[in-house]
């Protein structure tokens, strides 16, 4: 077998067999899957807990049946009951809480109390105050004795929801969600940062291990130092791709299994029916008077889902893999050079700083990119090869012009050739040097050695 292939094989097999690799590979998909599953569970759980709220007025009946029931909450208007009678024992009577409305509410906004055992949800409070505001407005308007007031009110009932449409030059429109793009940008940027750092430093530790244990002295009688370095970098890259591929497959598998077995059927149907039910959603929007809360929720969820489908997935995945490989190669070669120049891991710090600064800067800019993907800062950092892997993958969900991607990728490839060449020169000398602390001046000397 070819020697470099032998080295790649060893680097790959010993790492893939490690317990830590297996545990990481198996556990991480559960964390990813939780990211998908928890929101779905939260949504479906909302529907399940049914609440009954007692509505009590002191004598007056100004607000009888004013608050409409929602999907998960019934409002029971209790006549002739004093608030003090029910204040303490409402829970025993099966109520979630007591809404006490004082007749002064029309003039005094805070003359109303909701007494509950648990902290009530914001949605519930919005629903109550919204209904009451509408009723009070109506009653105030009634005082003006306007004819056909009910009809007038119906026609002036308004609702505003912004739909964001992204129009490309050919005029075809896609519905997008800034939320989804941001989430994707955040996830890709952070994942890229993590992967490049993790596997890059894995290469460094491997190099240090070989150097300190003098394995390298034995091995370089068989292979060239550059072969050893490249074998290690490629072997670890394959480990990274294996892990990443398994993560994606396992995450999908877990999400599927959970979808089928754990989520209640209703929630599942909602998700599956979303694309078709756009028309319904529009209707629901048109007839919004007495709008049921759930209708609004569904259509919001729907459009989120639709815009998730509208993301340029092919481009996102392709560029992620491209930038992972190239970003990794760039940093792994730098890390390999560092590992070869030091005698132990604690000595790496002086050289780590200039390598970690761009990587962290990249992450910071990537996070800022989500606020403003078109800024010139984002543009330049997605061109500079040391930061472009992280910043560019964070920009791509926001639609980046093709020439920018091509330029950034081209720069990346050129830089890798340079960095691998440089790393090989440092590595060749450094890996066999012991005892003295290496300085930057020394590194420069190694770089400029002939031959």
């Amino acid at each position: 077998m070819n020697k470099i292939a032998l080295i790649i094989r060893r680097e790959y097999i010993t790492r893939v067999r490690k317990k830590s690799f297996i545990i990481m590979t198996l556990l991480t998909p559960f964390l990813f899957a939780l990211l998908f599953i928890i929101p779905a569970l939260v949504m479906s759980n909302d529907d399940k807990e049914f609440k009954k709220i007692a509505v009590v007025e002191d004598g007056a009946d100004l607000f009888k049946d004013v608050i409409p029931d929602t999907k998960d909450t019934d409002f029971e208007y209790l006549e002739g009951i004093n608030i003090n009678d029910i204040k303490t024992n409402f829970a025993d009577l099966g109520y979630y809480g007591v809404l006490y409305i004082s007749p002064q509410l029309i003039t005094t906004p805070n003359a109303i109390q909701l007494i509950t055992r648990k902290q009530p949800a914001i949605g519930l409070l919005d629903h109550i105050s919204g209904s009451l505001e509408k009723e009070i407005e109506k009653q105030k308007l009634l005082a003006y004795n306007i004819e056909n007031l009910d009809e007038i009110l119906k026609t002036i009932n308004t609702s505003v929801r912004i739909q964001t449409i992204k129009m490309d030059e050919e005029g075809s429109a896609t519905e997008t969600s800034t939320g989804i793009s941001m989430g994707l940008a955040y996830l890709s940027g952070f994942l890229m940062y993590m992967l490049v750092f993790m596997f890059g430093s894995m290469v460094m530790r491997g190099v240090i291990e070989e150097k300190t244990s003098r394995i390298v002295e034995v091995i370089i009688s068989s292979v060239k130092p550059v072969q050893l370095m490249l074998g290690k970098i490629i072997g670890v890259a394959l480990v990274g791709l294996t892990q990443f591929g398994l993560w994606i497959m396992l995450t999908l598998a877990i999400v599927m299994v959970v979808k089928i077995n754990v989520l209640p059927e209703g929630a599942m149907e909602q998700i599956q029916q979303l694309p078709q039910s756009f028309a319904e959603a529009d209707q629901a929007m048109a007839g919004m008077e007495n709008s049921p809360v759930s209708g609004e929720q569904i259509s919001e969820f729907e459009s989120l889902f639709a815009s998730a489908l509208n993301q340029p997935w092919g481009l996102i995945i392709f560029s992620f893999i491209f930038y992972f490989i190239t970003g990794y190669l760039l940093y792994a070669s730098l890390f390999a050079a560092i590992g070869s120049a030091v005698d132990n891991e604690t000595e790496t710090q002086q050289f780590m700083l200039p390598v970690t600064i761009p990587i962290i800067l990249g992450l910071v800019v990537a996070m800022g990119t989500m606020q403003n993907p078109e800024s010139s800062l984002s543009f330049w950092f997605s061109m500079i090869p040391l930061t472009s892997p992280i910043v560019m993958v964070a920009r791509i969900p926001f639609d980046v012009p093709a020439w920018e991607i091509a330029l950034s990728m081209g720069l990346m490839v050129v830089t890798i050739i340079g960095s691998v060449w440089m790393a090989a020169k440092i590595y060749r000398t450094g890996i066999l040097m012991y005892g003295k602390k290496t300085s930057y001046k020394e590194l420069w000397k190694w770089l400029t050695y002939k031959g």
Partner: protein
Amino acid sequence: MILFEAQNVTKRFRTQTALDGVSISVPEQSIYGLLGPNGAGKTTLIRIINQITAPDSGAIFLNGHPVKPEDVHNIGYLPEERGLYKKMKVGEQALYLAQLKGLSRNEAMRRLKYWFNKLEITGWWDKKVEELSKGMQQKVQFVTTVLHEPQLLIFDEPFTGFDPINVKQIKDEILFLRERGATIIFSTHNMSSVEELCDNITLINKANTILEGSVDKIRSEWAANEYDIVFNGEVTPSGNGHFSILSSRFENGNSIVRIKSNDNADTNEIIKAMTSAGRVVSFNPSLPSMNEIFIRVVERKNKEAAKN
């Protein structure tokens, strides 16, 4: 025939000189010892032979031509620090290193089986290196060093970490390897192994060669005209013009007498005097051990250096 030669090799590090014009010449199929106190420059010389570092001046030759990068394939090197992957299994690792040396998988397997059997370490095949003791690891590495049967073998401190049984086993293997045609250079502090194994030695002290040559010759040169005579029964000879008595003791029915002959004394005259004193069992020049020679040579050099 000379297999390996180093001529006037000098190597300086920033603050100190590691080797100052050192030359060695190693005959084919012989065992060559590199001796010297700690920090004398032995390992630097070994690293130069392995082309791990280049000398500042001087040249090294293998088979009569200057050493080329490809020649390292012809050299097996056992470094002082044990160079094995700790997390890898013994067998797998030995196989990997052998394949890197260019052996096919099958051939490597066959030879490994032979050596693992020979050194009685077959049971370690599936153990991780980190589970082995230092001496056990060294045995494994010894196998990986000699497996591809290079012409020149270099062992840096091959006996440290071994118990006496393993020291003997490794010594036997080194002699066996020489018999099969290998040439061996090794560095050591273990002087008894030098007497047993080495054909020639070089003693390096503070970057300079201070003693060099065949072990037998060096020992007889350092013999200092002393002889041990063993008599049957209790005998007390007295000195004459040819020699003086240094010591004498009675042990297990024999008298052991050490004498020093005067300069230019005829050994036959001494023997005559002895045979007339009692029944001689043996008459031997008393050779100093390499240990004594080592200490004496190094101390003398250091004293000279202190004077200057």
